[in-house]
Subunit: 340 residues, 6 copies
């Protein structure tokens, strides 16, 4: 079984030591992007995964490829060309100060790419799962039509389409997201959508009342929204959502819900210390896909995926480098503080 | 409207990674000092502010000026000369281990300076607010008389005198502080005095019983002390105080009280994760002054100032680099963990 | 009064910034090992202490010696020779991710050493306390017999033998530990054994039910085990144990129990933020020995030792560099967050 | 006397330790750009200087301003707006490996700016010297016409126009440069043009035979080209050029030539170790302007400017932070290796 | 055309900033080893290359694989198992102080591996070139017989065997090297042997008189030795050697000689600044193989290989990350110091 | 045989990466001072050495002790008390930019110390060599009289007095140095005085013509001055001097001269790359003393001392950590670039 993920990998420049960007004399330089993150997670779990994107012909493009190849992701289908690599700057928050992202991804090789760049029949030739996210269509209309082309081919070839709705308010409006998602969703088989993104991505009124301290208590309302999505699009067999109570940048409670083939499943609730604030949703998605690939029971899919996400929150950078045994140990944890 | 702050800026050498000083192979090198901190805060908020001090004619003196000029503080009135820049070493505590300061500021250019160094009529020519703190008179009797000279000029020119009582037990005794403050206070219009400093600075018996976990509960007693200060010195229209419950180096609750023109105001209480343990009081002071300059209502002055202080606790270094919009976002926070 | 500690000091290579080892482009390089840690703690407290080990004749061996000599430990009895220095890699956990140790200490100069390497009569000539731990016998049978030789000499010379049972499941089995301890314990005078190690080291069924969140509540059961150890080995006058509730890598509650000359003592319970996850037990042991050397009352021994351990958890590296006054300040703490 | 410089300041991201970009886990983050560099140099020499550019309204734009304000440059005329800050990546070469620049400056706030952004009559109101370089017109035709507008105003107001021809082959072609320079040069009073740029910028056939080891020997030919430039444009009173023999990234010989009011001047030849490979030409330009402002004799202008450039090569980053006394000490150097 | 390289990859721990090991509070952590270095070089040049070794099942083993996979090396044939990863410590010299290596590679997974670990028929199934070095047989007699097994299979399958004689005096004696090489060389087709290693590896008396400043002048003598090797072993069609004049750690002259199919070729002589003192020979070997694979003329093979080696000396770490265009630019260099 | 050295050890704060102090966001924190440096050198060579100074009772004082104890120096005679540790800031030069020292050592514990602080009869009880330098008397007249007291006791006890004249123009005038040296020299047995310090320390007109590129050629003149010193003070049996041609911060030639018991000896001349610009003279002094202690022939004393100094120039920090075998390898060097 093979997975292909398609999206943008960016150079991520992070102010060290929780500094504000204006204080920093150097930036940590890593790479990340939802679809690359999912690819790396799956490769670390031992799955066969291709990551597809477009990167410029310069050393930063090479570095983007090396970043995923390092962990066993197949990079042979990455297209080279275009003007620049996308960049995002991250200022890590702490306590009451939220983390802040400055996107500098306009005019990147990927953002400027379109259908002519990707030979979908070849790229999808040996794939069983095709993973995409709501970030790519937010970048350009050319990418929207590219995505639609790809998922239609998937449909004809019985490739499972996995879509993480991932709403990014700095990239497009909720109205645009909803409009695009209406076109895409009829081709989607698995959908991940977290917290209040249900409203921004699908226009489904959620129960979220704006108080981020009190989300999990409203899980019933989230379940109803999840079922509604599955109802609207018959191709969908799985909807999975993380819901979070957020107390501060470092502290929150995390739970997850799964609606699969007409049944609901609920994870345990984790009380978590958060070290690395990004890409836990991607780790969750990879965990769900891994569970499906390996025929986990639905409850195990969900618990495994949430344990992967929880572990990601402890790992610096965008990639979840946790191994299968690390994830399983968290699922069976007895509050160990050291293994020696 | 212009503000002038007067005091010492020191080279601050901090052991990295919460090491003890004896473990460190390098020190982080930044600059700070209550009055410089206030100046930088105000400049970041867009106000016109001059910082006045004395620094030696060497590259460390240049660096001290660059540290404030970088953020828009006017440094034209800084006097050059003297033997050395003051230094303070900071060992960051954590958990139950308190942070520790080693002062190495004796014989600094500023500590050795006196009335002949500062041309007060020129320095105060275009100023509306003159900010000083209880640290300067703790350094020498020459500086005490310099301060008295300056505030008397302020009185004749209707310049508002802002005094942060800031008691430092490693620099002078409570008895000396009380004696000096009795001379100074008749010229003060705004007074900031936090927690148990009310006793050390003014000899007013406070309610503090030595249990730092349980200060906020005694706010009534603090209010009485604040009113007493205002009673004693008719020039004073504003007394503002932060009161804190301290659980560990990283965790505490913060609240603030304002007595202005005969009325009391209370802030909300913040439950805070503390990253940077110094200079939150200076951020508070700058927030109060900014609120007054921009004609905020008293409750808004207080809430804005405490939000600024709370935000400062998340920012490394002595300077509060938070912007006006950052502060207002905290005042309206809904527990965001990331903006993207 | 002099103390001699005997064991391995290793090069400790730690992934920085809570990274996983696979992410790190550099490792922090420090030195540590239970017996070296105890020696450094005692030296920092002003006691006369020798550390005995075997280190290779290369610059890493020199560096191991320098690491303890730096803090006043006498290194004159360290034997030089053998092939390599032992190494351990540490991946610092956080939140729900436990810290992980990779030992690379096989074939080290110390692990390969044996009786011919140590001139016990000379080494023990001026010593009053001989400190060893359960790590050394876990390394080889040669070291087991070396230890037995040494403690028999101690018996004839009335040198107090201090044994920290310190079980390490990655080095030997519980069965082997129990078998060796049965040979050693008749020569031991003070025994430290923490939490569930009572079972692994001595085969005494403890009350620990596998839930690390709920250990302290079972202190009565631990006391019974401690008394049982003292009963079994008449040479023992002191058994001391730390018991911990662990919530996450950074958060736990710590308490300690002492059984001395037939009486039980209990420490207060600390609610602790944990920064440095290793070597707190060694700090505790050093605190106990220091208390005995200086004729503290039993309750004071225990409280001092636990305060030392608690403070160690705030200090990076393996060595507890806290001073006597730092420890006493913690014993009398009023939640200070900064001293200035 | 006031100077105004106009151009782009970029975020400069440099691979540390002479790594290739693909090896770096962090980048040094500084700021630079020819016209900002000249402004900082002049400010460090005590001159009154404004830097004008356009920067986005985000924290990276703030940081760009802070970078020059830190050293005393007046930033009040900087325009805010646009999409992004320009970036350039630097891979430091060494030995036979040349340094490599990756420009990522398209679509920056400055590159997209044009005449409507700059209120030239106000900006030039109190200026005596207006400094620009050949980098700005290489960015867009909008900036070309903006520059022509500005220099025409300078002509009417008797403001001296200083132009560093600075050819950048990665930004435009020689043909485009020559075409633009023909329009600009009639308004220029001082022209700096180094080494083989004479051909690329002005189409004047130089003597350079492609052997960078042997440039200084051909100084007579360079002089002829310099005189030719002065002949072609009667507004020009000063042409100054650095000529270099390059042996490796770290080693070269530097000399400079000046043609002023019909007379030639030659500097001494420096045999230099090069630490920081960029911005020495900007330091030279600032040195020339400083000399003119302070009425140095022509030979002193040239020698001072070349000493400044030579010193810049020893200082990390783009800014020449050397002081006037540092530069004069180099002019009178006796091979000191330490001052103590 | 595919290449397979076989050997050990080690964790390389380097003291930063040219410190001695005893001074370092952290070590740079990279990976290297002759055969891995060759594999990475070839992958960066776009060739298809497999690296074969044995690594332990722990995160350090994973990291060793990631280190080569990052740059496109195929790691599918790497065997997992054994006790530890080999380590080497590097103290970078400078000036007159030579760099110093401490090997800690005994008992590594690779050093303990033998014939049962490697399925040669499968590993060599699709390979055209098999690259090995004199370091592997220096590690154990088991590895010697493994190597002989492998090269005999190569002979039957017409796979070219490339052998870099690479003598390491800290691992085995010259006598042992000569004895093994006599067994291996009948199966070798290309042999690389540098400087005085001719004597240590083959017992051929070279002209080297112990003066490392004056080696290149003796090239005639080296040529005779090279021809002698080719004469002794008819399977050999190519012998290539680097010869160096060494003035200090940072400065030397490098040249190379090639004897191919009965003809001699000489490279130009480079006068080089040396930044990274290791693995230039591996870069040379990769350059030679790349030239052969791509049918370069013999002189071009040699010049390309030496340019690759010269460039490697400017790149930190063990891997030559230079691209094909970088190498060709050096071959055609005109002393550029920056590309912009 | 024991040596005692007496002088100040300072905290040394160095701008990293050859930055100017104004650029640095952190400083490297090490410790150094001529007499401490000599002590560490001797301890690394295996000699028994005490270092005597006065340090404040704070963690920086502890750190100063740890810095020398780490390498085996006996610190038992160090006096604790006073106000602060002396500090010096170092800006490393490069190329034509000289390194620059900012002393901040006034009012240090040592600078303020005097005769009452040092119990000379006890300190000198078991010493054979007493090492002092010209830096101590430059700090205060109290220290001048302390030194005279100590050397008089040495005379009565037949302890050899070693004096490194070490002139520091930033601490005192040449006239003051000459006046003090006239009092001290009658008690000195070995005198080290380098380059042009002969004039500043003793008023002996040397041949130095101000051209630092051409000092060694004037060695005959230096020899005459050395003999003159020995003539003036009959107690002196040894005068040793380093003479240097300085080309840049990184490059010079070094030689040394010895006048011992009426005979002259000359070292070979080293052409050196200089990495660490300070404390080579101290390494030379330690090498001379070590040679005398171990009865080296005079030529060997000189060659060993200069090799030690040359090696020091390659080692970061103030301490010469070279071992005896490292030094001897340099004496017999054949331009090795790596040992492996």
């Amino acid at each position: 079984m093979h997975i292909t993920t398609f999206g943008e990998i960016m150079l991520k420049l992070t102010a060290p030591k929780k500094q504000q960007l204006i204080q920093s004399s150097h930036f940590e330089a890593t790479f990340g992007g939802a679809e690359a993150n999912v690819a790396v997670s799956l490769a670390r779990l031992g799955d066969q995964v291709h990551f597809v994107t477009k990167l410029p012909v310069n050393e930063l493009g090479d570095a983007g490829i090396a970043a995923v190849a390092k962990f066993g992701v197949n990079s042979n289908d990455i297209v080279r060309g275009g003007n620049r690599i996308g960049i995002y700057f991250l200022e890590r928050g702490n306590g009451i100060r939220p983390s802040n992202v400055i996107y500098d991804r306009s005019h990147s090789a990927f953002a400027d790419s379109g259908e002519l760049d990707y030979d979908w029949p070849a790229i999808l030739a040996n794939t069983n799962y095709f993973y995409i996210s709501g970030i790519t269509p937010a970048l350009s209309s050319k990418l929207q039509s590219t995505l639609l082309t790809a998922v239609k081919i998937c449909r004809t070839r019985h490739i499972e389409v996995v879509y993480d709705a991932n709403f990014r308010g700095k990239l497009w409006s909720s109205a645009d997201a909803i409009a695009f998602n209406e076109q895409l969703m009829p081709y989607v088989n698995l959908c991940f959508v977290h917290d209040e993104d249900i409203y921004d991505s699908f226009g489904i009124k959620d129960a979220f009342d704006g108080n981020r301290r009190n989300v999990i208590a409203q899980k019933q309302s989230f379940k109803e929204s999840m079922a509604l999505i599955a109802d609207m699009y018959p191709s969908i067999h799985t909807v999975a959502s993380i819901i979070r109570d957020t107390y501060s940048v470092e502290h929150g409670k995390w739970a997850a819900l799964l609606f699969q083939n007409g049944h609901f499943y609920e994870s345990p609730i984790y009380d978590l210390t958060v070290n690395a604030e990004v890409a836990a949703g991607d780790a969750f998605g990879a965990g769900m896909i891994h569970g499906l690939l390996h025929h986990f029971a639905p409850q195990d899919q969900l618990d495994y995926a949430l344990a992967a996400a929880a572990l990601k929150l402890t790992i610096p950078g965008d990639f979840n480098l946790a191994s299968d045994s690390d994830i399983k140990a968290i699922m069976n944890s007895t509050n160990r503080s050291i293994n020696r």
